[in-house]
């Protein structure tokens, strides 16, 4: 049992480090899209929510699952779309575009 937990912890800690490495390179100009985009990624809970909503355990679990699916999906769709909308606004000086 504990072994399983340790495996998951390894994944978690290493992913945190990857996160630190990757995010440190994001320039301040893009911090708002970074937040909304990473927000959409945190909507990954949708994967768990879908299973709970579809597993037909008990009525209460299904309801909780469906509400979770709604919340997570708002997060995913809203987050990616608004980030896309924002990022399309960032433009370089006309002469310097490559």
């Amino acid at each position: 049992m504990i072994e399983g937990l340790v495996d998951l912890l390894v994944v978690f800690v290493l992913a945190m480090f990857i996160g630190f490495e990757v995010i440190t390179k994001v320039p301040p100009t893009l911090h708002t899209p970074l937040m909304s985009g990473s927000n959409a990624i945190s909507g990954v809970t949708i994967l768990g929510a879908m299973v709970v909503a579809g597993r037909s355990d008990t009525r209460i679990a299904t309801i909780l699952g469906m509400v979770a699916v709604v919340f997570a999906m708002i997060n995913v769709v809203g987050g990616f779309l608004v980030t896309d909308r924002m990022l399309h606004m960032f433009k370089a000086k006309p002469g310097e575009q490559k």
Binding site: I2, L8, V11, F12, A15, F17, G19, V22, I23, V26, P27, T29, L30, T32, P33, L34, M35, S36, G37, S38, N39, A40, I41, S42, G43, T45, I46, L47, G48, A49, M50, V51, V52, G54, R55, S56, D57, T58, I63, G65, M66, V67, A68, V69, V70, F71, M73, N75, V77, G79, F80, L81, V82, D84, L87, F90, K91, A92, K93, E96
Partner: protein, 465 residues
């Protein structure tokens, strides 16, 4: 099948990492975000074929409703309202994680077996972090919308109450880990989480919002990660950890930009009006000094005949929604041969990068926007600094006055430029409640009024030159 699903989740996580990596430059950022979205889509489709799923009905209804709401929000929201949007999304993410973890608890109850200790603890952490994120984000949303007061709310025994709640939370977690099933105690834990979220954001003042939004962003990721521990899903753990790391980095950057510790932001109740006696005296002295007002045509002349003008935007620009006017003014000045640059303080506005998004919306090229460290040496060669609705981030007291609550915070050195024009509604002090000696400096002149109106007047005057 199980293995294939795991591989697909791994692929999705790789998409997220590459997507975030491509956010390191505006040119590649659009494709990065799309890559992450594709990763998510693939993971969602794969999950729909998970063998545990027996009925698709509720799942699909949920997906349709959620996607609809999300799409409407994303397409309708104004760029000035981005902080609210992000706050809301943070909250929803947290809520979803808490709900999934709760449903897992119920599953163990129906199966009639107690979860192993590690799963029990992660269920509780998931519920706790998720609910704190949810209610905290809603309060942050309310503050940004000005439904809830933007000032720091303090009340007697605040710290004692928080300490009691904290101990209570630990107690509940231990109890839940030892005994099973205790559904009402789990519900109580969720209640305490909601309360903690409200109580920890209520005392945060408006200008500290960038820190809180970044922190809640991190929480929403950590909640997703905890849920991953509960359901043994690497995809959730990795993605949640990425977001958790991202939020933590932004939190640290924001704190550094204000020269304050996270603890000070969370518990300091900055801007509650309970400043020390010394700063009140400083303010009292300052009010005695005269200020210079400038008319729009003089200001226009000053800028149009200079070599370099640096625009310093603050939250006031967002409130007045004057970003398009600012760009128009800058273009007119550039036509007259003036170099126009924008100086962006890390905590200007209500969330990290708030000003950059606003100016991007108004078509200001991102290479005209300069970070504090880059632009500060330039102020000495700047003819006019045009400060629009910024206050604390240009207060020289942060450099010179050890008595000031702002002392030590890195600021934009606009006072070093030859002239400084401040667009402001009134002489009301900034968020920190500290008077700004910049306004009384001999090189500074004030142009009072709504930022949008003032800039429109400036545009008119520059055109007539």
């Amino acid at each position: 099948m199980e293995a294939i699903l795991k591989l697909i989740y791994l692929a999705a996580a790789v998409c997220f990492i590459f997507g975030l990596k491509r956010l390191s430059h505006p040119r590649t950022a659009v494709s990065g975000n799309q890559l992450a979205a594709v990763g998510m889509l693939v993971a969602i489709i794969a999950t729909a074929f998970d063998r545990q799923i027996l009925s698709w009905q509720w799942m699909i209804i949920g997906i349709v409703i959620g996607s609809g709401i999300g799409a409407v929000l994303a397409l309708k929201v104004k760029m000035t309202a981005m902080p609210e949007m992000v706050a809301l999304l943070n909250g929803f993410g947290g809520a979803a994680s808490a709900l999934v973890a709760s449903a897992e608890y119920i599953r163990y109850m129906t199966l009639g077996q107690s979860p192993p200790a590690d799963v029990a603890v992660t269920i509780q952490l998931s519920v706790l972090i998720g609910t704190v994120t949810f209610s905290g984000s809603l309060i942050a949303f309310g503050k940004l919308r000005e439904i809830v007061t933007g000032t720091a709310v303090t009340y007697p025994l605040q710290k004692t109450l928080n300490a009691i709640l904290f101990l209570g939370t630990v107690g509940l977690i231990v109890w839940l880990a030892v005994e099973f099933p205790l559904p009402y105690i789990l519900l109580a834990l969720a209640g305490v989480g909601l309360l903690l979220g409200v109580l920890s954001v209520i005392p945060i003042g408006g200008a500290d919002m960038p820190v809180i939004i970044a922190l809640l962003n991190s929480y929403s990721g950590l909640a997703a990660s905890m849920t991953g521990f509960v359901i043994n899903n690497h995809g959730l753990i990795i993605s949640g950890a990425l977001v958790g790391a991202s939020g933590l980095i932004l939190t640290a950057i924001m704190c550094k930009a204000m020269n304050r510790s996270l603890a000070n932001v969370l518990f300091g109740a900055f801007g509650a009006g309970a400043e020390t006696g010394t700063s009140v005296i400083v303010a009292g002295q300052a009010i005695e000094q005269p200020i210079r007002q400038i008319t729009a045509d003089d200001a226009a002349m000053l800028m149009a005949f200079g070599k370099q003008v640096v625009v310093v935007p603050g939250y006031g620009l967002a409130v007045a929604q004057a970003q398009h006017e600012v760009r128009e003014l800058a273009e007119l000045l550039e036509k007259k041969g003036v170099t126009v640059k924008y100086a962006i303080h890390p905590v200007a506005g209500r969330m990290p990068g708030h000003m950059n998004v606003l100016l991007a919306e108004a078509n200001v090229p991102y290479d005209e926007l300069f970070d504090m460290d880059v632009i500060n040496p330039e102020f000495e060669h700047t003819d006019v600094s045009l400060v629009i609705g910024a206050n604390d981030v240009v207060n020289p007291a942060a450099r010179s006055n050890p008595e000031s609550p702002l002392y030590g915070m890195p600021i934009l050195d606009v006072d070093k430029s030859r002239a400084c024009i401040v667009l402001k509604r009134s002489m009301r002090p900034g968020f920190a409640g500290v008077d700004n000696e910049l306004f009384y400096a001999t090189a500074t002149s004030m142009l009072f009024g709504d930022a949008k109106d003032s800039i429109k007047k400036l545009i008119q005057e520059v055109k007539e030159l």
